[in-house]
């Protein structure tokens, strides 16, 4: 013990200082046990998935020939699929992010409350639609509708490489897949952004308004700076969904094997995505092909992990700038 003399009673010399603890209540104990148990189960499950993917996937890394759909080796195989996966997800985000932010702003700041509440419910409902339904809708209705547009795009904007065609009249292209993904991602991003926008402190909104800001200027001065990190997180969550979505893409997208690495968005020759490729190839796969598919799953796992990690880094950095 040091020589500082305080009025506090001290434990006798030699014994470690006793931490004063509130008596443990049974409710606390039970809840602590439950939440600790739940956390452990999640960790174990996650570790199990990772171990399974790694152990089963490793043999696939060395595969060649038929098991990797005729590509030179696994790296090329995975690379082509990663390209398609990212392209579909990027198309989805380019469309979904501005739309979602706009929609969230309408709900939180523009629409009168009578309209905002039902609008919010409707968008939440969109999130509850199963992806098979999106897939069916994508093939039977949306794809055909887009097919006509692709014909028009090829005829009028064909000089842009994105639309050089030949147009897929059935519309089952990577662009259609990306747009269907966008629709599936919009409710996620909108719901999160709406919550954050609505939490912007009145203090700062009024500061902007009192200076003579229009509503849009107020949003730029007060709402966006406050919501910035949340908007990034929301977009990343949406990206995670877009990267991993299987059913809708597998149904809508017409692509075989590893697909075609192209920026031409409106043809019948499309890139393929990892998730859709697994879903479509798995039923017929045997032996090494299974390992290859699992290894591609591992690649997807790593990409999603990296995306989440990047999102966290961005959020942490902008947070630090705020407090600097």
């Amino acid at each position: 013990m040091s020589s500082t003399d305080t009025a506090k009673p001290r434990p006798p010399k030699g014994e470690p200082p006793v931490k004063r603890r509130s008596p443990e209540r049974p409710g606390d104990k039970i809840f602590k046990g439950l939440s600790f148990g739940a956390a452990m189960i999640i960790l174990v499950a996650l570790a199990g998935v990772a171990i399974f993917l790694t152990v089963e996937g490793i043999p696939g890394l060395g595969a060649s020939g038929g098991a990797v759909a005729g590509e030179a080796n696994f790296l090329v195989y995975a690379g082509r699929l990663v390209y398609g996966t990212l392209l579909a997800a990027v198309i989805a985000l380019i469309v979904a992010t501005p739309l979602s932010i706009g929609m969230a702003l309408v709900i939180s700041h523009y629409a009168p409350r009578r309209l905002a509440t039902p609008l919010g419910y409707m968008i939440d409902l969109l999130a509850a639609v199963p992806s098979v339904v999106y897939g069916l809708w994508g093939i039977l209705f949306f794809g055909r509708f887009m097919g006509d547009i692709y014909v028009w795009l090829e005829a009028n904007l064909g000089f842009i490489p994105l639309f050089s065609g030949p147009a897929a009249t059935g519309g089952r292209t990577i662009l259609t897949a990306g747009l269907v993904l966008a629709l599936m991602v919009i409710p996620i991003i909108t719901a999160i952004c709406r919550e954050i926008f609505a939490q912007t402190p009145t203090l700062h909104q009024e500061a902007a308004l009192a200076l003579g800001a229009t509503r849009w200027e107020m949003i730029r001065y007060a709402v966006f700076p406050y919501a910035k990190s949340g908007m990034v997180s929301a977009t990343m969550l949406g990206l995670g969904r877009a990267l991993g979505e299987t059913m809708a893409v597998a149904m809508v997208l017409s692509a075989s094997g590893t697909g075609v690495m192209t920026l031409n968005l409106i043809t019948t020759q499309n890139p393929n995505t990892i998730a859709a490729n697994i879903a479509r190839s798995f039923p017929e796969a045997t032996g090494l092909s299974v390992n290859v598919l699992i290894a591609s799953g591992l690649v997807l796992f790593l990409i999603t992990f990296a995306v989440n990690f990047a999102a966290r880094a961005i959020v942490a950095r902008s947070g630090k700038r705020l407090n600097a």
């Binding site: 203090l203 009024e206 500061a207 009192a210 003579g212 001065y221 700076p225």
Partner: protein, 259 residues
């Protein structure tokens, strides 16, 4: 150009709730007008109706007339955004924009309406406004630092600098010193005194001495009873209000014999 404000028969509502009833007064240009009164009597509500900040709250509305130099504020064609650019406001709690530097905070109002400012003009405005708000010497070496890094009193003066940077005709202040220490309070009172030569100033305060020190005219608001709307009891030159008020309840409130 400072302007005078004429208020006649003003009723202020939150939805169906009548918060303030039947206010008539004339606020003189280039003078300080103080509002005093018990909590909940509608001082803030009334103040916010003078630059159309009241209607920012959903369902809030106003009936009656407010004339600023003869121009009606609540005429159908009047744009509230334009009104707020002319009539600045300082809030009870300092509210600099948290992501902006001190420099950008001062210029926030000037940059609205996508106005482009030359660097030299911007520098001039920042220096002039911060000097006007008695803050220049304390922050001139760290203009690029966030406004949130300042003390509460400094933040409040930063908000005043931001409000005067756009050279409004009227400056409304809602208990600007209530969160501040006596030294910062004194700094802001000095500032109000200096600003008086150029601006019309309206200040809400719970501090009688402050009202007596800084204002030329004083309005006393009161509630008739619980759940009743607030109303203006007395509006007179400050000296008269504090020495020899017309109304007994004013006298009771000022001398602390209230309720």
């Amino acid at each position: 150009m400072a302007k005078s404000i004429d208020v006649s028969d003003l009723d202020i509502y939150y939805g169906d709730f009548l918060a303030v009833q039947g206010v008539n007064m004339t606020i003189r240009a280039r003078a300080v007008t103080a509002f005093i009164g018990p909590s909940g009597c509608g001082k803030s509500t009334f103040l916010r109706s003078l630059n159309r900040m009241h209607e920012v709250i959903p369902g809030a509305r106003v009936e009656g007339k407010v004339l600023v130099d003869g121009q009606s504020l609540y005429e159908p064609g009047v744009d509230p955004v334009a009104v707020r650019r002319q009539i600045g406001m300082v809030f009870q709690r300092p509210n600099p924009f948290p992501t902006m530097s001190i420099y950008d905070n001062v210029l926030a109002g000037n940059r609205l309406n996508s106005k482009k400012l030359k660097k030299s003009a911007a520098d001039d405005i920042v220096e002039k406004s911060l000097k006007g708000a008695n803050l220049w010497n304390e922050v001139k070496d760290r203009l690029g630092k966030p406004g949130m890094g300042l003390s509460g009193g400094q933040q409040q003066r930063l908000c005043i600098a931001r409000a005067i940077a756009v050279e409004p005709q009227v400056l409304l202040m809602d208990e600007p010193c209530s969160a501040l220490d006596p030294i910062s309070t004194a700094a802001i009172e000095d500032l109000i005194h200096d600003l008086k030569s150029q601006y019309t100033i309206v200040i809400v305060t719970h501090n009688m001495q402050q009202a007596a020190r800084v204002s030329d005219d004083t309005g006393f608001f009161n509630l008739k009873g619980a759940g009743q709307p607030g109303h203006l009891v007395e509006f007179n030159p400050t000296e008269k209000v504090f020495a020899n008020p017309d109304n007994d309840s004013t006298e009771a409130y000022i001398s602390g014999r209230f309720g």
